[in-house]
Symmetry: C2
Subunit: 117 residues, 2 copies
Amino acid sequence: MSDSPDFACCTPLTGTSMSTEQAEQVAPLLKALADPVRLRLVSLIASSAGGEACVCDLNEAFDQTQATISHHLKVLHAAGLLDRDKRGVWVYYAVRPKALPAVATLFSTPAPTGARG
Amino acid sequence: MSDSPDFACCTPLTGTSMSTEQAEQVAPLLKALADPVRLRLVSLIASSAGGEACVCDLNEAFDQTQATISHHLKVLHAAGLLDRDKRGVWVYYAVRPKALPAVATLFSTPAPTGARG
DNA sequence: TGCAGACATCGACATCTGTCGATGTTATCG
DNA sequence: CGATAACATCGACAGATGTCGATGTCTGCA
């Protein structure tokens, strides 16, 4: 996977029927988010100071093993949702700026401006 | 499963860290959407005339078996994303009005109104 | 009553996924 | 150089998931 996907998922679900290609491009993104632990990871990172969080802190916030958390972070990173930054011994993850808004656009109604018909 | 979930997923992911309970409530919703076929199903239904579509038409729009499409529709219906309406021999599915906006809110930034930092 | 069509369900299967313990890799400190 | 700590990777395993063919259920029609 590229390290900087373009988030082509910016076309709303409604309005026009989605192409097979686009669906196959968006699904992995949602699949990465469709897990309670990963959802909380993203939320925790997004709400952290500076928009980033150290893995060591994340490990302590969950009941799962360090290996499991590392796995989930890898999945989120592979999906292009998280940025990874290693500083010395510590690793910081941050939510990719445009990732969440892109997903939000997917589920937004096209354009309520100028309702016609 | 209730036939009318309240879509408690209306709190944005960012801003405040998500609770375990809320995460476990939202994850199934995203899991239901995290499939290319189901994504296209929702999109196709949402963009159909009247906001609903007959299963017979949906079947013809996909390469998968009728049993598979029926399965996916059941998953989406169980997640509270689709409404089911049987009329004679035909069954019509419609996207639940507030379902998609609720998901959109999840991934929206808390409040762009009156940026105050 | 019998038949045909629309859709759901069942049973089976290969594959994917979440989780863990164990181990590997890399950076820091004495 | 050796020890320690932070994080990633590996191998394994139970359970979930997507798909199919076959069959069941219900409706409308002759």
